[in-house]
């Protein structure tokens, strides 16, 4: 557990000082929102309610891909990845520290993006705010779990910029489907119960446990 906490501390401190991931993700998300604004101008309120959850999650996933792509790229500088590979004990703790730091960063970017999205598309996010946040939190567990594993697997590849989204996005389809459905209900003012959260909790749990266990094999040459 100490290893996970050390990794979490290190990732947050280095991110605070460099701000490379958070700035890249935030700027990219805002640009997508602006592109959507031009692509869907003068939308009727009814049509907006139908499309908004999907548009929001497309933005979230693209931003997450950018953030996850940098998760282990920073470890390549000065070959710091070798130091991680030399850490004794279960390497799953390295995964957990990395995934938690990424979860925090992605969630922060998603909150900021949500505010900008609400402003541009005149969506009242205060309706079902708690439910929306719960969906974001649980969906991000799945995104960051499988994303951190795949990021570590692809980082040494020459094609890592292409490989990560190609591997990641198909694994996120069930997460996206559940998250979009839940967000739509939440924005419509319906309560987000266990029924809507359950798929996200189950998928997130599976991805978390699988990634924790498989991470032992990822850092080896």
């Amino acid at each position: 557990m100490n290893v996970a906490l050390s990794l979490l501390w290190k990732d947050l401190v280095t991110e605070w000082r460099s701000r490379d991931r958070i700035v890249a993700m935030t700027v990219f998300s805002f640009l997508i929102v602006i592109v959507f604004q031009f692509a869907f101008p003068e939308m009727e309120q009814e049509e907006l309610a139908r499309l908004a959850p999907g548009l929001l999650w497309v933005t979230y996933v693209f931003a997450a891909v950018i953030g996850l792509g940098r998760t282990f790229a920073t470890e390549l500088e000065n070959e710091a990845m070798t130091a991680l590979a030399l850490a004794p004990g279960t390497r799953g703790w390295i995964f957990l520290g990395k995934a938690t730091a990424t979860w925090l960063l992605i969630t922060l970017v998603q909150v900021l993006t949500g505010l900008v999205f609400a402003l541009f598309f005149r969506v009242d996010l205060s309706v079902g705010l708690g439910g929306s946040l719960a969906i974001v939190a649980f969906a991000n567990v799945a995104i960051c779990s499988i994303g951190t594993l795949l990021s570590a697997m692809s980082v040494r590849s020459r094609f890592r910029e292409v490989l990560l989204p190609v591997l990641l996005i198909p694994t996120l389809i069930p997460v996206l489907a559940a998250a979009v459905r839940g967000t739509a209900s939440s924005l419509a003012g319906e309560s987000v119960g266990l029924g809507l959260l359950q798929p996200l909790i189950v998928i997130g749990g599976i991805y978390l446990v699988l990634s924790f266990l498989l991470f032992d094999y990822v850092l080896d040459e």
Partner: protein, 250 residues
């Protein structure tokens, strides 16, 4: 921690169709200092990565044993806990200060050293004045000293160094060599097993008790201190001869 004995039989390492190591045998005694010499691409770094538990042999057997409880072979996890490793690069984080880099390295080994303990390590490597400076502002020599401090902060009993003198001027190299000699024991009185990969026969003779001359994935000679062949000049001649034979063969 007791020092570690490293033994390999028929160790082969292949990257696709390229053989980096061709079935080599070696036995590095606990507490022994060994230098691995050879030309670029000879297989030195591949061997070091196997010794560190970072890479598995493609075939053959490699085992590490604790000198204190020699009946038991150390698993890869147990071996990693005892390894201090310096690679081609520094393995440092530029955004972290020298002190933070050391604290993080210790944290990866499940340790939380006190400020005084970190101060002692920083002082040992003459980094106490730059303890709060970010590592990306360091000169090559300072970064290399910090890299070695990072490798020893958790008190490893096996120290593996991959070309630690690369990029250093003569004076910095001499200072680093003196510091490495002081790292041959683990601070608790026990001898560390030290393996250093280098191109420079002078450094090999200064640091090691034995040299392994690696050429094209094979160990071609293993002179020990006291042998006629264990001088900087003799090692250099041997390396030049190996390189010359390779050119003739090619």
């Amino acid at each position: 921690m007791s020092p570690v004995r490293l033994r390999g039989e028929g160790v082969e390492k292949r990257y696709g169709r390229v053989a980096a190591l061709r079935g080599i045998d070696f036995d590095i005694a606990a507490g022994e200092s060994v230098a691995i010499l050879g030309a670029n691409g000879a297989g030195k770094s591949s061997l070091l990565k196997i010794l560190a538990g970072l890479s598995r042999p493609s075939s053959g057997t490699f085992e590490a044993r604790d000198a204190g409880t020699s009946a038991e072979t150390l698993g890869r996890e147990a071996l990693r806990a005892r390894v201090g490793y310096v690679g081609h690069a520094t393995l440092l984080y530029g955004e972290l200060t020298a002190r933070e880099n050391l604290a993080f390295a210790a944290g990866l080994h499940g340790q939380r050293p006190s400020r005084a303990a970190l101060d002692a390590v920083l002082e040992e490597f003459a980094l106490e004045d730059v303890a709060e400076r970010r590592a990306d502002t360091f000169s090559r020599g300072m970064a290399q000293r910090l890299a070695i401090a990072r490798a020893v902060v958790h008190g490893p009993s096996l120290l593996l160094l991959d070309e630690p003198f690369t990029g250093l001027d003569e004076a910095s190299g001499e200072r680093l060599q003196a510091r490495l000699l002081s790292q041959r024991d683990d601070g608790a009185g026990a001898a560390r097993t030290l393996v250093v990969v280098t191109h420079d026969p002078r450094r090999a003779v200064a640091l090691a008790d034995r040299a392994l001359l690696v050429h094209r994935g094979d160990i071609r000679a293993a002179p020990v201190r006291g042998d006629d062949g264990f001088t900087a000049e003799a090692l250099r001649e041997r390396l030049v001869a190996l390189a010359g034979n390779a050119e003739v063969a090619a």
